[in-house]
């Protein structure tokens, strides 16, 4: 077929449309999910946590977390009667296999921890390349194909929630199971929690039970003085928790 001027002019728009299609890349995996309609958070009810470690095991399995690293972990606090400012905190293997017997006397309780998905996250602000970011639905994610592994964010996180994955040498952290919540599921840790101590919450959904809970309970976030806009809310948190 000869390319005449007429044919070329006809072909050009078609080529332009095809190029646009190529540029669009892979289609959205969850077509019914609209990022602008959600603002994700989590509620942790400390008096309900039994320290079984189900959340830690589930997180490791769901997200392929390397051995010895934790995207979520459980801390056991022991507060002796006479020194509330200096609690004994331990987290053997992140609480993955449960906990050995606790000391008798004083106050003992479990505190599950994970990324606080801060609205004003210090970790995303220090990234020099834009490999970590807050999504429009309020989840702090890491783009591992763009991360240099410079560790700035690991240092910046006041909650110690980030680590460098030894296999990929990139920063890693809790993704709030973004691949699950965008498909209408809850996170792996919330899914397996046997006592309901962890609840995924959508602050933009007026029907979410979180709003009623926040109204009727005394709820705190970790390190509020750092003004990180943390979105993991703790109910029944002792003053000794750091």
């Amino acid at each position: 077929m000869d390319i005449t001027r007429r044919r070329l002019l006809l072909l050009l728009p078609a080529a332009a449309v095809a190029w646009k299609y190529v540029q669009a890349g892979t289609p959205e995996t969850a077509p019914n999910y609209k990022m602008t309609e959600h603002w994700w958070a989590m509620l942790i009810d400390i008096p309900k946590c039994i320290g079984c470690g189900s959340c830690v095991r589930a997180c490791a399995e769901e997200n392929d977390v390397p051995e010895g690293y934790y995207r979520t972990w459980i801390e056991r606090y022991h507060v002796a009667d006479w020194r509330i400012e200096r609690p004994d905190v331990e987290s053997p293997d992140g609480g993955k296999q449960g906990f050995p017997p606790s000391e008798i006397g004083g106050k003992n309780f479990f505190v599950p921890k994970l990324c606080n998905h801060c609205a004003e996250s210090p970790c995303t602000q220090v990234c020099p390349v834009g490999a970590t970011f807050v999504t429009p639905d309020g989840v702090v994610l890491v783009d591992k194909s763009y991360c240099l592994g410079c560790r700035y964010c690991v240092q910046a996180c006041p909650y110690g929630c980030r680590f460098i994955n030894p296999k990929t040498n990139t920063a890693e952290k809790c993704s709030l199971c973004y691949h699950r919540i965008t498909k209408g599921l809850t996170t792996a840790c919330c899914e397996v929690c046997p006592t309901g101590a962890r609840q995924l919450a959508d602050l933009k959904n007026p029907k979410d039970p979180i709003h009623e809970f926040l109204r009727t309970h005394t709820v705190q976030v970790l390190k509020p003085h750092m003004a990180t806009g943390a979105k993991v809310f703790y109910n029944g948190m002792d003053g000794s928790v750091r």
């Binding site: 606790s102 599921l185 397996v192």
Partner: protein, 163 residues
């Protein structure tokens, strides 16, 4: 006035080439979706969301295992999601015929939650498994989906443990 303008033209040409080279390099190196939502690669969101799931969720389990749901409703374990004990079962849910979940060792699984520990909430049922069962598997006496033992003939509650 512009007597020796030639060298200025040459300089302008060099700068124009440098500018074009910069623009071309930038277009090649910066990912297309960078800046779509903010100072990051917009496509990364869809890539992370595309990961496969490992835990199916109890709604999926309950669609088939209706008998277990009925059993659980009669006891306190109604609030315990399936995969808390049975582990990640998305593969089983996708292909129930060929992927079968492993049989659980109740002596291990039950103790994860019910082993006595003073850090656990006071109202939560706890036992020192060594004294309570002496190494026996829990499901010899307890039905895991409906754990309370209800034997009308028993003179004292069986949960007190055996000597």
């Amino acid at each position: 006035m512009f007597k020796d303008i030639e060298h200025l033209v040459r300089l302008a040409a060099v700068m124009a080439i440098a500018l074009i080279a910069f623009a071309t390099m930038r277009a090649l190196v910066v990912p297309r979706s960078f800046g779509e939502y903010g100072h990051y690669r917009g496509d990364a969101i869809a890539e992370i969301a595309a990961r496969p799931v490992a835990f199916a969720g109890h709604d999926v389990c309950e669609a088939c295992h209706i008998d277990v749901v009925e059993q659980k409703k009669q006891g306190k374990h109604v609030v315990v999601p399936c995969e808390a004990c049975h582990g990640a079962q998305a593969k089983h849910a996708d292909d129930p015929a060929s992927v079968k979940p492993a049989k659980l060792d109740t002596a291990v699984v039950c103790a994860r939650c019910h082993e006595a520990n003073s850090a656990k909430p006071k109202g939560f049922p706890q036992v020192a498994t060594a004294d309570h069962a002496g190494g026996l598997a829990c499901d010899i006496c307890h039905q895991p989906h409906r754990p309370k033992i209800e034997t009308p003939a028993a003179t004292k509650p069986a949960t007190e443990g055996k000597k």
